[in-house]
Symmetry: C2
Subunit: 381 residues, 2 copies
């Protein structure tokens, strides 16, 4: 698929540097977020990594070149890197061809240390443009399309992510009890996910659980945010969760009932649940994404709650918390294809109705239908 893009646009090389791109192309999650994959037209890619990058998690079937980032005695490691890249292109006699890459980090996944942006140089885009004599050409449309398709090996990893998500959901259900604070519930969920590093073959595990209960959940359609508020009997409590295992993401939402809830709360919960099941039942190759959104939206509208469901029904997921690609939404021009993984997440929230409910699963399109990757999560309810 990369070679196809290269051939079609007569490129010398594709360059991938965003953490999610490295997961997508190599299954490799960078630690420092300063690794660069140069996928050259001769099909002999080279991965440039900083000296300080751990060696045990580097992909084994690719040429590695190091650059001196992190070495105190080196005043400009970036110059060294960009020169190495330029030289490689020259040696391969590809420097009369344009190169391409996505020139924006917007929306992408963090590297392992998500607490700070990788310290990429301010002139990064300009410097990458200068690697070839012919500069950069924009093939973003083709590159961004890659996010919409999950390969067999991606799916194996994504199943692991969803298995850990199941532990998270179980922890949420066990902790969604009156008297606990939202912060305690979120922290308990994240604790269990972080602990999954104890399992074999897991080298990165982190969850971002956001808990909104009772009146806080009315904002669930605008933002997700945990507070120190205590959960009370009679409330609905929502957990929105982004979770990353080894670089592969899931995006799950559950709504729990604390003690006795009213008939009204139950009805809205059931409506969201039924609407979600309806959406999932339509997920198969060839179906228009807008049609699924419409069916779900119609159901919620005819029950009289249309004005409380204001966001899209779903989005691609897996290499990021929100993968690029056409969404399940009213004006989407997307059509479902095998290998796509999308969230299905209707929600009803409002100050007037004094509650918020969302239920979200990740659905993989197969050759003739779909698999709810998070389906076994329900077994823990």
């Amino acid at each position: 698929m990369l070679q196809q893009i290269i051939n079609e646009h007569h490129l010398g090389a594709l360059i991938f540097w965003r953490p999610d791109e490295l997961v997508m192309t190599l299954g490799y999650m960078p630690l420092w977020g300063l690794s660069f994959l140069m996928y050259t037209a001769d099909d002999k890619p080279v991965l440039f990594v900083p000296e300080l990058e751990p060696e045990d998690l580097l992909p084994s079937d690719i040429t590695i070149q190091k650059f001196p980032w992190g070495i105190m005695s080196c005043p400009d490691p970036w110059d060294d890197l960009f020169n190495q890249m330029k030289l490689l292109l020259e040696q391969k006699k590809l420097n009369e061809h344009t190169v391409s890459f996505i020139p924006s980090i917007g929306g992408s996944a963090p590297c392992r240390m998500s607490g700070e942006q990788p310290p990429l140089p301010a002139n990064l885009i300009e410097a990458l443009n200068g690697i070839s004599k012919k500069g950069w050409v924009d093939v973003s449309v083709d590159l961004l399309r890659l996010y919409s398709y999950k390969t067999a090996s991606d799916i194996i990893q994504l199943k692991v992510t969803h298995q850990i998500s199941a532990i998270a959901v179980q922890t949420f259900n066990a902790n969604a009890i009156a008297g606990k604070t939202e912060a305690e519930v979120a922290a308990a969920v994240e604790y269990e996910v972080s602990k999954s590093l104890n399992l074999p073959h897991i080298h990165f595990a982190r969850a971002w659980a956001m808990i909104q209960s009772g009146p806080n959940a009315v904002w669930g359609g605008r933002y997700n945010r945990t507070s120190g508020k205590r959960l009370e009997n009679g409330e609905l409590v929502m957990m929105e969760m982004g979770i990353c295992i080894n670089g592969y993401w899931a995006d799950i939402t559950r709504t729990a009932k604390i003690g006795n809830v009213t008939k009204n709360q139950n009805e809205i919960y059931d409506l969201v649940n039924d609407a979600q099941k309806l959406g999932i039942s339509m997920m198969r190759p060839g179906v228009k994404m807008s049609a699924i959104d419409s069916a779900v939206r119609d159901k919620i509208e005819s029950a009289g709650f249309g004005e409380y469901f204001k966001h899209a029904l779903g989005h691609h997921v897996g290499f990021r918390y929100h993968d690029f690609g056409p969404t399940l939404s009213p004006h989407s021009d997307g059509v479902l294809e095998e290998g796509m993984l999308l969230t299905v997440e209707p929600g009803i929230y409002g100050e007037q109705i004094k509650m918020g409910v969302r239920i979200e699963d990740n659905v993989l399109i197969t050759n003739n239908g779909c698999i709810v990757m998070s389906s076994y999560l329900d077994a823990t309810n």
Copy 2:
């Protein structure tokens, strides 16, 4: 200080959009990471925020303008934003002046949801350049200098951050026992920090604790990373931690001893500890940063461990995990001034010596000396 930069360079406006810049200028930590402060030459700044941004945490003493990001029916919210910014400059008759901002997100702090980059548009820099007829001028040197100085109100917030860090260190010490895994220790620390949302006036709390024990700690000078390895008797275990409370950061490292350690381990621990105390004792206004690095490095070198201390002694901290500015390092041209907050973090790590030790505190320069912001952490040891 912002007005001074504006006057000096005859600017129409300064634009701040990176999360740490908004904390630094307004004490405001954005949720979506899509807020833009336009600090105009007439000293009447305007904060542009997306429609979906929560209202309760917006700064109260500034004009707010919204733009329709997150509204499903709006095809291009960014055009709307950039037009609003352009119009504001026109109305204030400042559009014949250049504007300035830092055109790179490299190294900056995440917004509340650190699991993904804010979905900023690919043409962000170009679009911001287009706000004024006269375009952009580079005043990065002046803007980056802002990171080196903490005001009285920053210091109040940073004390809160360090108070929560004390809880984290206490939790680390209590959990650094044989039989626990690195992941369990890290998760326990992060759990306690996340729970601090229960305290008054804390609206954001997250820690990134990285635990490396025994043989894993030999890599502590190259990277920090938690694994599923169990802590064993006779090991040294290191916790590196970035922690963010309400947008204000601390960067703390502690090394603990598991059970009985050897004389050799104790000696290296004491050497690092003494070297750090030596460095801290020199921290006061007017001292060259390189001199402090030299004194500490000399001490470690004369004990025969120079080759195992390969990184800089310290860096600015507070608005980020690593703030911009001159470092405590051999070739630094920085001089300490009142209001600076720096880490002091000597470390000794090596495969040959089979261990890793680092001790790191955050030190605030006062008018005649320094305060170890994390000093009370030692009380918990």
